[in-house]
């Protein structure tokens, strides 16, 4: 681990089960009936007290959603039953700014997950979402004073209606895809971030997403606007209890990177293995702006997620780093999309996947260079590591080039854990499990070293949990 030699995998805690699989008995203050129709949406709008335009927006999106056929590509969605889901579960009446005011039972959950502790240590702001609603949101005072906005999106809609209205749905329109339409209809929670021109937010802003209810649909909506020359790093983590029936997580994340700004968005997704994780993430990067997605997918039953960057003006840059770990019963269909819409734009996609115990990981990528976008560069590297013969890895790269003057490289490698590597490490006293964990951690190290330290530690620890008991 590059961040610190002190954190070897051995030092990190050990726990065999999916450790976030517990659930707490929190009585929701409101829960919509199962299934979705216009009445449920109207109910949500009433409870939230939303302006008319948002109600219209939702209803319109719902009509689009109903018309869209079930998504056929990517993963197997045939078991997903839209009528068997609670679309809105409100566990608390307000979003609190003081941790002490968060209802005790909910607080207990986040305490178990170590959230408030994390905030004290290294974050500029924290948001915590429990089922549909954000229950806690806080930002350090200094940032608040200089105009940095970090709110849950519902509150932002009330406090900054013009800003939200101006950008909401402009990066990802409702009609973009089936799940974007669904999210647009029933979105709740998520984070809203605005960074004023020239402001560099030094520490990460963090959001934590937790599904607690069974058969729950979580549809957070995140909107980040980085004004000219600003800089921000947003980090999110996700967990859910292990129930016998499935839950759905379907987020939409829209990011606007204005001229010369720099945004990094980091995700460590560790949903329980019965969560469908179907997320649309997209950024527009304007002149000389830089957008980075760092995306770690370890949990869920099926993840379909392809963070994208549209490079709209010259000098824009998009970087996407993703790690997927597919274990038994899991399909990680992850990837990246980059659209070079302007000349002299640059992108880099690095994808690393690990498949084990019959897990399946796919890389689905899209590189697009518009006609006239001269002098663009794109570099794609896909590395897949397959740990046993039951597991699977595929790549589905698409490259669309409308311009001759471009430089595109695509490299893909599939490897197995080398017998020589295992033997080498074992001959030095490491057990087979320690040796393969070490090799895997080494495999993802180029990505892990990009993570904030605490997340790097967490990532390595999660890998170790995945590996435990898997060998021999």
């Amino acid at each position: 681990m590059a961040n610190s030699e002190t954190n070897t995998i051995e030092e990190l805690g050990i726990n065999k089960e999916y450790e976030y699989g517990f659930h707490d008995d929190v009585k929701p203050t409101f829960k919509s009936r199962k299934g979705l129709d216009e009445e449920v949406i109207n109910q949500m709008c009433d409870i939230k007290g939303e302006p008319d335009w948002m109600r219209e927006y939702r209803l319109n999106a719902y009509r689009i959603f109903k018309q869209k056929p079930m998504t056929k590509w990517g993963g197997d969605l045939s078991q997903l039953d839209f009528d068997d889901i609670y679309y809105y579960v409100k566990a608390s009446d307000r979003s609190e700014r003081s941790w002490d005011d968060v209802p005790d039972d909910i607080k207990k959950t986040f305490d178990r997950l170590g959230i408030p502790e994390a905030e004290r240590k290294f974050l500029a702001g924290v948001g915590a979402q429990y089922d549909s609603e954000v229950v806690y949101h806080n930002i350090v005072e200094e940032l608040d004073k200089i105009g940095v906005v970090f709110l849950d999106t519902d509150t932002a809609l009330k406090e900054h209606p013009d800003l939200v209205k101006k950008y909401f749905g402009t990066i990802i329109p409702s009609a973009d895809n089936q799940f974007a339409a669904l999210n647009s209809a029933v979105w709740s929670g998520g984070s809203f971030v605005y960074v004023p021109p020239g402001v560099k937010v030094e520490y990460p802003l963090q959001a934590y997403f937790r599904i607690n209810s069974e058969n729950m649909g979580q549809f957070e909506r995140t909107l980040i606007i980085a004004d000219e020359g600003s800089q921000v790093h947003y980090v999110e983590g996700c967990t859910a209890p292990t129930y016998s029936s499935e839950s759905l997580h379907s987020a939409v994340v829209e990011i606007v990177c204005m001229k010369g700004s720099r945004v990094r968005y980091t995700t460590i997704q560790n949903w329980a293995n019965n969560v469908y994780n179907l997320v649309t993430k997209r950024a527009f990067a304007y002149e000389d702006a830089q957008m980075e997605w760092v995306d770690g997918n370890l949990g869920s039953k099926l993840t379909m997620k392809y963070p994208s960057v549209y490079m709209m003006e010259p000098g824009a840059r998009g970087d996407i780093l993703s790690i997927a770990f597919a274990s038994k019963g899991q399909h990680q269909d992850a990837g990246a999309k980059v659209y070079h819409c302007a000349p002299h734009t640059t992108s880099q996609i690095t994808s690393k996947s690990i498949s084990k115990d019959g897990g399946r990981s796919s890389y689905r990528g899209w590189v697009d260079v518009a006609k006239g976008a001269k002098g663009c560069k794109s570099h794609v590297v896909c590395d897949a590591l397959i740990l046993d013969k039951d597991s699977r890895s595929d790549t589905y790269p698409v490259i669309e080039i409308g311009e001759n003057d471009t430089n595109i490289e695509h490299e893909a490698r599939v490897s197995k854990i080398g017998e020589e590597q295992l033997f080498y490490l074992m001959s030095r006293g490491l057990s087979e499990e320690e040796a393969s964990t070490m090799i895997i951690n080494g495999f993802i190290e180029p990505l892990v070293k990009e993570l904030p330290m605490e997340y790097a530690v967490e990532m390595n620890r999660l890998i170790q949990l995945q590996m435990e008991g898997s060998v021999g």
Binding site: M1, T8, I9, R428, G429, I439, I444, P446
Partner: protein
């Protein structure tokens, strides 16, 4: 307890092809043995087989180390008993720093009494760092190597030095050095030779596989063995190595009726 390595009538094959054909050899703690033999005679096969490489099948024979037959043991269990192999071609492990790897390895093989490990089972960081830095200095390895990925992009000579560093850190009772001198420049051979001879004492026995007597100038073996076509055909003292240097393998081949492969 005796930490001797006793090999009795050992047969090893690779992909069904017999390579080691009835080999007998005893290396006692504190002794230095040299094993010489032409390319392809089976030296590395013996070394890998002793360490438990899964591609090398032991068909019959016994290997007693530390009082137990180790042939059924996993490589890491052999390492924990005090056996060490410095590889002819060390494998690169990208993304894993030399220091992180070595700390885990040292904590795994050194006995509880000697590694002073904490509750996490790891040798304390500061102690480990100090020792690592000291030993790297002795071997003329730059500090920056601690952070570099294990054998990844190391030059041939750097890999060999890193192997000896591991030997120094892991403190085995019996070490097999498979052509540790090949690929080293003249100065590096001296550094490695001197470092190994410093490590040698009543606690450490070594089996040095080499083609050249130069390394043996620094580590003078008490016993020299010649491997030909899977068996040891001659054993003697230093004079045997000198004879080889002067005359090559032909006289021995002739004597034992082995045709060149």
């Amino acid at each position: 307890m005796s930490r001797d390595l006793v090999i009795k009538d050992l047969h090893i094959s690779v992909q069904e092809k017999p390579i080691i054909k009835g080999l007998n050899l005893t290396v006692k703690q504190g002794e230095i043995h040299a094993l010489m033999g032409p390319n392809g005679s089976g030296k590395s096969t013996l070394a890998n087989g002793l360490m438990g490489h899964p591609l090398y099948d032991v068909d019959s024979g016994e290997v007693i180390f530390n009082g137990t037959d180790i042939l059924e043991l996993e490589p890491n269990e052999r390492a924990k008993l005090g056996l060490f192999l410095a590889f002819q071609y060390p494998t690169a492990i990208p993304g894993v720093s030399l220091a992180n790897f070595l700390r885990l390895a040292v904590s795994a093989v050194r006995t509880k009494e000697t590694n002073g490990s904490g509750d996490d089972g790891l040798i304390p960081m500061r102690e480990f760092r100090r020792e690592l830095r000291e030993k790297m200095k002795q071997l003329g390895i730059d500090d920056s190597f601690a952070r570099r990925y294990l054998n990844d992009g190391f030059s041939g000579g750097e890999k060999k030095r890193a192997e000896i560093l591991q030997l120094a850190m892991l403190e085995p009772q019996i070490a097999i050095l498979d052509e540790t001198d090949s690929g080293l420049d003249i100065d590096a051979i001296r550094v490695v030779g001197e470092s190994v001879s410093q490590l040698i004492g009543p606690e450490l026995g070594v089996l040095i596989i080499t083609h050249y007597p130069r390394l043996l100038d620094y580590i003078r073996p008490q016993f020299v063995h010649i491997l030909l076509d899977g068996t040891i055909v001659e054993s003697g003292g230093w004079e045997l190595a000198q004879m080889l240097e002067a005359e090559g393998y032909d006289p021995i081949r002739e004597k034992h009726g082995v045709v060149e492969a």
